[in-house]
Structure formats: C-alpha cells, structure tokens
C-alpha cells in the first residue's frame, strides 16, 4: 500500500467578484498516492488551475483542508514545485540561475548547488544552454527550464498547470515524451492539469475528470496501458473516446 501524499478533504473555494460570490471549487475529496501521475482533466476555465493553486498554497481554501505529506497547506513552499502555464521564468537570470534559484534560497553551498542544478539541466536536455537567458530560448526549451527549476528543489509533489498548452503540436508531443522520460528516471508525485484528452491519456496513471464551475469530480479512470504509450493503439483510442464522451461540453 502506497503512502497518500496529497489529501484534499471537502475543499471548497469561492471568489468575491463584482457579480457577488462565485463558487469555483464545489467540494472536492481527492487523495494522491506517492509517485502517481494524476491528470486533472476537464473543460477550459472549469477551476482546475484554482484547485492546483489551492494544493500548491498559492491560494487559500474557503472550506476544507489540504495536506501534503501530512502537513497542512497554507502557503507556498519548496516541498511543492509548480510548473506554470506561461513558464514564469526569471528573465534576468540565466538557465543556470533559474534552476539553482531554489537551492540558493535554501542556502546550499555553491559547489553542491551547481552540481545539482547541472544534473537537472542535463536531465531535461539543456546541456550547453546554462548561460543562456530565457528570452533567447524557444517555448519548448523554456518549459524544460521550468521543469528543471521545479525538480531541482526536490519537492515531494510537482504541480503542472497546462505546461504544454502554449506549445505547437509537434513540440507538445515531444515534450510529453520528454516528461515521461524524466518522470521514469526521477519518480515524483505529479498533478498535471490539461484540457487535451490525448495528453491526458498519454501521461496519466489516473485521470480525474472535473465538471464545469463550480468544479467537482465527475469520474475517475485508472490508465493501465503499458509505457511508452502509442497514440493510435486501439485501447488508447477507446479510452480517449470513453473519457471524451463524459466531459461537459462548453464553448
């Protein structure tokens, strides 16, 4: 029996807006065991990002409780790495500067810091780009830096909020493959948000389908397909159809 890393109990989140109080998260109960790659899948704007932000501590819950590794989540912390939709790299720091930032904040001595950062830069395939600024990198390469930066603080959990959403189709496939390679090598608990069904089935151990706002869990699917997965395998396509069919349709 694997340890439960993330536990969400009766989590609700509302925002106060000009139109009054808007419920974004209905009431979510969710546990994520160690080293699972969980995909939160649902229509656009349905509150998936809010759920991830709540788990990462970037937003506070309105009701309920989130724990990560037994500790209650109240603010962001280095035990929870986040890979953002729009990379959120520090533009004035080089690739090395970005990746080692977390270790520097922790006070890790320079030599060890450099070695560890280099390990993750190599892992994501950016060897030779250590001294390049993000503005000189392609979209896919920036996301690699984002992944290396989050990995480098060696967090218990990694949250990935549609990290490949802005990439072109070719780069997206490549990055999905890359993420699988990285994850096989450095197993972590990952919560991955996407609205792309193909990506979801390709990556997930388990897919949690979310409803429209206020979001709740609609269904869960365990994906036991062998890896590396094949996008045109009949079983892959069947799952893809089955899950697509139950998702709320929105514009």
């Amino acid at each position: 029996m694997k340890k439960d890393i993330i536990v969400c109990r009766d989590v609700k989140k509302s925002f106060e807006t000009e139109r009054g109080i808007v419920d974004v998260i209905g009431s979510v109960n969710l546990t994520v065991p160690e080293n699972e790659l969980l995909v939160l899948f649902g229509p656009g704007q349905c509150g998936k990002t809010t759920l991830i932000n709540v788990m990462a501590g970037l937003e506070t819950v309105s009701f309920g409780v989130v724990t990560v590794d037994g500790k209650k989540v109240e603010k962001p912390g280095p035990d929870r790495g986040v890979v953002y939709q729009a990379t959120a790299l520090f533009p004035w720091l080089t690739v090395m500067g970005n990746v080692e930032y977390g270790l520097k904040a922790k006070g890790v001595p320079k030599k060890e810091r450099r070695e560890r950062a280099q390990y993750y830069i190599d892992l994501v395939g950016l060897t030779g780009f250590e001294n390049t600024f993000p503005s000189k990198l392609s979209g896919g390469m920036r996301q690699r830096v984002g992944i290396a930066r989050a990995y480098c603080i060696e967090p218990t959990v990694l949250f990935m909020d549609e990290p490949f959403g802005h990439l072109d189709a070719q780069t997206r496939y490549l990055m999905q493959e890359e993420l699988m390679r990285i994850w096989e090598k450095e197993k972590r608990t990952i919560v991955f948000v996407t609205n792309n069904i193909e990506e979801a089935v390709y990556l997930a151990n388990r897919i949690v389908v979310m409803t429209n706002c206020p979001t709740t869990i609609k269904a869960e699917f365990n994906i036991d397909l062998p890896r590396p997965r094949d996008y045109v395998d009949p079983e892959f396509l069947r799952l893809r159809e089955e899950i697509s069919a139950i998702v709320d349709k929105t514009l």
């Binding site: 990462a56 501590g57 970037l58 603010k75 962001p76 912390g77 280095p78 929870r80 790495g81 986040v82 953002y84 729009a86 959120a88 520090f90 533009p91 004035w92 720091l93 930032y101 977390g102 904040a105 922790k106 600024f133 993000p134 503005s135 930066r149 989050a150 603080i153």
Partner: protein
C-alpha cells in the same frame, strides 16, 4: 539579417549627416551679410570660437573646464538623489504602508518644476554650491522615484509566486525579484532624470556662479556677446547628447536579458 541591419544603420547615419549639414547651411546663408547676421552670429564664427575656447579661457576657464564644473555639480546632486529615489520608489512599490504614507506627499511635490525652487533654495542654502546640488537633486529625485515605483508595482505576481514556491523569503524576493524586475523602469527614470538634471544645472548656474556652462551663457548675455551665448548652448547640447548615449549604452549592457535591452 546582418546585411539589412547594416544597411538600415548606414541609412540612418546618412540622413543624420544630411539633416545636420542642411541646418548648418541654412544657418550660414541666413546670417551671411544679412540684417539677421547682425544679431545672430554665423556658424563659422560660433564654431570657430567654440574650438578656440578649448585653449583660450572664457573668464577663468577654458570650455572643457566649464563643462567639467557643470558635470561635477550634476554628478553630486544626481548620484545622491538617484540612490534615495531608487530606495524610496522601490519601497513604495513593495510596501503598501510606505506607499500610503509617501505617495500623496510625493504627488504634490512632483509637478513643481525644479527651477521654481530656486528662490527658496537661495534663501536656505545661499548662493554657493549647495543650492545647485539641491536643485539638481530635486530634478533627479522625482523622475527616479516615480519610475522605480512603477517598476516595483508592475512586477508580475506570478514571478513572486514562483519565487515563493521555490522557498524564497520576503527579503530575498525583494532583492532577487522585485529589484531586478524594476531595473528597466529604473533606467528609464535615470535617463530622463539625467536630462533634466543637466538642464537644471544650466539654469542654476545662470542664476549665480563664476564658472560652468550656465555661466558662459549668462555672461554672454551680460556682455552682449551672442557668440559666447551660442558657444555655451552648443556645449550644453553636445554634452546632453553624449550623456544620453552613455546612459543607453549602460542600460543595454545591464539589461541584456530583457527584450527592450537587446
């Protein structure tokens, strides 16, 4: 790519040369043996005098000496006020409390042009150097503060969230995120401020001084010497231009990471 860039650069240089030459030519023609020529000296006379004044002193100094005097005044006021302005501006952008305390005060003082302070400055600090430093500092301070403030205000909150997620403390976020993110804004402010500090030193020297480019201009007026006035004006123009280019170069080196700095 490189060839087109070069071509564009040559084109710019050629047009610059053409426009300056045309201007000098018109100046020359309208002042040569005309009525206007009696009140406005021609370019040959003015530039002749300008270059001659490198060796023949105007008053107590040669023209580079006057320029250095003015520049040294600017540097004192500018450096002190820039440091204070950056600190206050960035702190105002970072802390709501500091913002609430200083912003209203600042908004009232900001629109007052530095030269409006001249009479008060003379009453407070007399006719010496201190008055000039004070005026230059005023001219610098508001520009730098305002830009540093808007820079610190406009830091992407996602970047602050990312730093927090990576375990950075508040003071580390301030030093490694808010400050560098504000650098392009701070530089824009420093650039404008240097221009207005340079303009202010001339004004301050015209009020009372015994050296500096402002003195060259005002003494030209007192002695009815339009050539000397124009020599002073040319010196002000050239130095102002050189300062602006220098600042842009420093910015390009410091902000090589930003899209703008390229």
């Amino acid at each position: 790519m490189g060839r087109f860039k070069d071509a564009a650069k040559y084109e710019k240089t050629i047009f610059a040369v053409i426009s300056i030459t045309t201007f000098l030519l018109i100046w020359y023609l309208v002042t040569k043996d005309t009525e206007l020529g009696k009140v406005l000296a021609g370019p040959v006379t003015v530039f002749g005098k300008f270059f001659k004044s490198f060796t023949e002193p105007l008053g107590t100094h040669v023209i580079p000496g006057h320029i250095l005097w003015s520049l040294s005044r600017v540097m004192v006021g500018y450096v002190v006020a820039s440091i204070l302005g950056i600190i206050l501006g960035v702190t105002m952008g970072w802390s709501r409390l500091v913002e609430a305390m200083f912003r209203p005060l600042f908004e009232i003082i900001r629109p007052i042009p530095p030269i409006a302070w001249i009479p008060l400055a003379i009453l407070w600090f007399g006719l010496g150097e201190l008055t000039k430093y004070f005026l230059i500092a005023l001219a610098t301070f508001s520009n730098v503060t305002m830009n540093a403030y808007s820079g610190a205000k406009s830091v992407d909150p996602v970047l602050i969230g990312a730093a927090r997620m990576l375990g950075a403390s508040d003071s580390r976020i301030f030093m490694t995120i808010v400050l560098p993110a504000s650098v392009p804004h701070i530089f824009a402010g420093l650039q404008i401020a240097l221009g207005s500090a340079w303009a202010t030193v001339v004004a301050a020297e015209m009020v009372r001084s015994s050296e500096g480019v402002g003195w060259v201009i005002i003494t030209g007026q007192d002695t009815n010497n339009s050539v000397q006035i124009l020599v002073g004006i040319i010196a002000v123009g050239i130095i102002g231009y050189v300062l602006a280019i220098m600042m842009r170069q420093i910015e390009a080196n410091l902000c090589s990471w930003s899209e703008r700095g390229k």
